[in-house]
C-alpha cells in the first residue's frame, strides 16, 4: 500500500510537470482572492441573455422567486440607505418617484439589500420596513440578501445599481440610475434618467437604447 502511495506521488509529480506546469513566463497579478464566490468566475450577466433566477426572502418574511414574476417587467434596485449616492436619490424623492411611476404601470420593483451583517447598510427586516415607511418608498418588496448571493449572481457593484428584466425573463437594462455620477441632488434635474426610458421601451417590447451603462455609487458592502 505504501508502495502504491509513493508510486502515485511520483506519478502525480510527473503528471504535474507534464500538464499543470504553469506557464513560467506568466506574471501573476496581485489580484484579490475571489475564489470565495464562484459567481465571479461565471459569465457576466449581459443584457439580452436570461436574467438568472433566484429565490429571496423579503422584509415581511415572504419568499419570492424571480420566475414567479414571468409575464411582468421587473426592476431590481440595489440599495444601501447609508450610502451618500443612495441618499441623493431618496432625500430628493427621486427614487420614490421612479418606484411610483413604474409600479403604476404594473412593473414589479424589487429593492435588494446585499450589505452583509456588520457592514454599512445592513438592516433587520423591521428596520427595512421602517425605512420604507419613513422614506415613503413604494417598492413591490424589499429583498434581504445579507449573504450577498443575489448580488454576486447579478454582479451588482454599486448602490444604486439598476437592472430591468422583461416579461419573458430577459435582462434588458443594467447600469446606473442616471448619467450624472455625483452625490449632489441638484444634478438630478439636469441628468438623463436611464430607468424610465428603459422600462418604457421594455413595456413596448422594444430594445433599450442605452442598455448597458456604468453604474455609479458606493460599492456593494459584501461580506468578504
Amino acid at each position: 500500500m505504501k508502495n502504491q502511495l509513493i508510486a502515485i506521488a511520483l506519478y502525480s509529480a510527473f503528471s504535474l510537470a507534464l500538464t499543470a506546469c504553469q506557464n513560467p513566463s506568466t506574471v501573476s497579478q496581485n489580484t484579490p482572492n475571489v475564489a470565495s464566490n464562484a459567481a465571479e468566475a461565471a459569465t457576466p450577466v449581459r443584457v439580452g441573455s436570461p436574467a438568472p433566477d433566484f429565490t429571496a426572502t423579503d422584509s415581511n418574511g415572504k419568499s419570492h422567486r424571480l420566475s414567479d414574476f414571468k409575464g411582468k417587467v421587473v426592476v431590481l434596485e440595489w440599495t444601501n440607505h447609508q450610502c451618500p449616492f443612495v441618499l441623493k436619490h431618496y432625500n430628493s424623492n427621486n427614487m420614490q418617484k421612479l418606484q411610483k411611476e413604474t409600479t403604476g404601470k404594473g412593473v414589479v420593483w424589487l429593492s435588494v439589500i446585499s450589505s452583509a451583517q456588520g457592514q454599512q447598510g445592513y438592516v433587520t427586516p423591521q428596520e427595512a420596513n421602517q425605512l420604507t415607511k419613513s422614506r415613503n418608498a413604494s417598492p413591490t418588496a424589499v429583498l434581504l440578501d445579507a449573504s450577498g448571493e443575489i448580488g454576486r449572481l447579478y454582479q451588482a457593484r454599486t448602490t444604486p445599481h439598476i437592472f430591468v428584466i422583461d416579461s419573458s425573463g430577459v435582462l434588458k437594462y443594467a447600469g446606473a440610475i442616471d448619467d450624472k455620477p455625483s452625490t449632489n441632488a441638484a444634478d438630478i434635474k439636469s441628468a438623463k434618467n436611464y430607468v424610465i426610458p428603459a422600462v418604457d421601451s421594455v413595456l413596448k417590447g422594444q430594445n433599450v437604447a442605452d442598455s448597458t451603462t456604468q453604474p455609479y455609487g458606493c460599492s456593494v458592502k459584501y461580506g468578504s
Binding site: 505504501k2 508502495n3 502504491q4 509513493i6 508510486a7 502515485i8 506521488a9 511520483l10 506519478y11 509529480a13 510527473f14 503528471s15 510537470a17 507534464l18 500538464t19 499543470a20 506546469c21 504553469q22 506557464n23 513560467p24 513566463s25 506568466t26 506574471v27 501573476s28 497579478q29 496581485n30 489580484t31 484579490p32 475571489v34 464566490n37 465571479e40 468566475a41 457576466p44 449581459r46 443584457v47 439580452g48 447609508q82 450610502c83 451618500p84 449616492f85 454599512q120 454582479q155 457593484r157 454599486t158 455620477p181 455625483s182 452625490t183 449632489n184 448597458t212 451603462t213 456604468q214 453604474p215 455609479y216 455609487g217 458606493c218 460599492s219 456593494v220 459584501y222 461580506g223 468578504s224
Partner: protein, 706 residues
Amino acid sequence: MHKLTQIAIKIITFILSFLVLLPLTAWANPVKTEHVQTHLVSEVNSIQPGKPFWVGLHFQIKQGWHTYWKNPGDSGAAPSIAWKLPQGFSAGELVYPYPERLPASGLMNFGYKDEVMLLSQITTPGTVNTKEPIQLTARADWLVCEKECIPENGTFSLSLPIATGTPTVNTRWAKEFEKTRATLPQDSPWQTTAHIQGETLILKVNAPQLQASQIKEVAFFPDQDGIINNPAPQKASFDKDGLTLLLERGNRGEVNQVTGILVLQEVLDRQTPTQAFAIATQLGAATTTQPATTASLPLWQVLGLALLGGIVLNLMPCVFPVLSLKALNVLQKSNFSKQEVRQRGIVFTAGVLISFLFLAVILLVLRSFGQQIGWGFQLQSPVFVSLMAYLLFAVGLSLSGVFIFGASLMGMGQTLAARNGLWGEFFTGVFATVVATPCTAPFMATAIGVALTQTPIVALAIFLVLGFGLALPYLLISFLPGLQKILPRPGAWMETFAQLLAFPMYAATAWLVWVLSQQAGSDGVAAVLFGLVLISFAVWLHQKTQIISGWRRRFGSIAALVVLGFALALAQLPGSIAPNVANSNTQQATSTSLNWQPYTPERLTQVRQSGKPVFVNFSAAWCITCLVNERVALNQPETVTAFQAKDVALLKADWTNRDTAITQALAAFGRSGVPLYLLYPANSATPQILPQILSPQEVQQKVKSL
C-alpha cells in the same frame, strides 16, 4: 490701560480676525477636508499671453483612503472640476496619471492612495486687456473612500499676474509636476491588437523584445466600463510575438474597440520603475494562436493524426501487455458468443472514450480557469523545454528498465480490470487510458497542443478521436476474430521493443537540449544537463529503496521526491537566463534627431581625447525604461538643442545582445543592467552618472552646466 484689558483686547481681535477670515477659507488653497488636503497649483508664476500653461489639482490623501481614476472601476466616482475663467481663457480635460488596482470585498476599483496630481492645461488668449492679476476659479468634487465613501469638494482660486516674458517655474511644485509627468501614460510604441475568444478578451502587444524576466507586473486599465471583468485576474505571458494579456470579459455585449492603459513594472538592477502606455485598438476578428508545430493543418488532418496517434498508443510497452493479454483472455474463452465478444469490444471502447473525454474536460476546465497549460506554442519558453527534456528522459529511463513507472498504479487498475463481466471490460478501457498516459506524453503533446488552442468542441473531438484510435485494434479484433492470428504474441520481444523505444526518447531529449542551447546559452544547457543527472538519481533512489522494507523505503521515496524537486527548481534557471538572440534590428521607430554612434571602449577613449564632452547611453531593446527615457527626455527638441549647443558626442551602448565589452563597462560602474547614463565633461576622467529615470529638465540642466 490695564494689562488684563490689553490681553482681552488682543484675544478679541484675534478671534475677530478669525471670524472675518473664516468665509475666505472656503476659497483657500489648499482646501483641507477630513480625509484629503487639496491644492490647486500652477506650474508657472505668471501668465504669458498666447502661451498655454499647466495647472495641477494635488490630493494628499489620508492613510488607508483612496480617490478614483477616470474609470473608477466597480464603484466610486471620478473626480470632476468646473472652471470659472475670465474671457478668452479655457481649461482642457483632466489628465490622469496611471492608477492602481484597489480590491474591496470581491470588487475592484481603480484609483490612487497617498497622493496624486491631476493636470489640466489652461489656454490663454493672445492679448489680455488688464493689468490686474488673472483669477482662475474652480470647484472640484471628489469622492474619497476607505470602506465607506465621503463625497467632498472645494472651491479654489488661483491668482496669477500677466507678464510678457517667459514665466518662471513655480519651484515649490516643480518636483511634484515632474513626478506626475513621469506617471502619465505615454503613447504606446508597440502595435496592439485585441480579439475576443469566448469569455476572454485577448490583448496582444507586438513587442517581441520584451522579456518575462524583465517584467515584474502587468496590468491593463480599460477606459470604458464593461470591457473587462474588473476583479478577475489578468494573465500576462511573453513569447516571440511579444506580450499576451488574457482578460475576462465584462458585461458589455458588443465591444468594438478597446482603449485603456497598459501598466508595466520593470525590473532593473537598482529599482523597479513603472511605465504606463495608452492603448487604443479596434477589435479584430477572432484568430486562434496555432502552435508552430501544426501551423496550418486543416482539422481533418489533425483528427487523422490523432487517430493514428491513438492506434500507435497500442504498441506502447505500458499499454500493449495489458491489452493483448486481455484480448487473448477474452478470445480464448470460446464460451463467449460472437455477440458477447462484440458487446465487450464496444464496452471497452466506451471505457476508453469516456476516460479520454474526462481528460479533455479536465484540460478544458483548467484552460477556462486561465491556466494556460500548453504545449506546442510554448516551445519558446526555456523552462517548458527543460521540463519536457526531463520528462522524455524519465520516460526513456523507464523504457530502459531503470525503474518501473507507475507499477503500483497498474496493479490497482489491474485488479479492477481483471473483474469479469462488462464492468471489467469497461475498466480495462479506463485502465488502458490511465497506463497509456505516462508512455504517451510526447505523442499526445501535439494533439493536446492543438486541442488547447481550439474551441472546446474541436478539442473534445481531437481527444475522442485519439481515444477511438487507442480502442480501435481491440474493437476490430472483437468484430473480426480472424485478425487475432496475425497479431504478435506478447513475450520476451516486448522487453526488447521497449528498450529500443527508449532511444527515440533519448534522441528527443538531446534535441530539446539543443533547442535550449539556442534559447538560454551554455548556462541553460548546464542547468538542464545537471537536472537530468538529478532525475536519473531520483528514479534510481526510488527504485532502489522499493525493495527494502520499513523506514528506509519511506526515506528513499522522500529523498527521491526531494531530488526531483531540485531538478524542477533547476529547470526554472534557463528561464532567467536571457536568450542570446540577435534582434538588434528591432529598434524602435521613434523619430530621433539625436545622432548616436555605436559605443566601443576604444571609441569612447578616442572621443574623450579629442576634448569633446560625451554622453553615453547604455540601453537595450527589451528595456522599457530606456525606451521611455529616450522618448520623454532625450528626444525632446530642447534636449537635442542642449546637446548640440555643447557639441556633446553621443554614444549608444546597445546591450540587447549582452555584449561583453558593455557588460564590463556596466560592471565598472557597479551596475548589472541597463539603463545607465554617463555624461563625461570635456577633459574630465570621471563622468556624471544620471539617474535611471530621466526627466528632460534634469538632462538639459546637466548638459547646460558642462
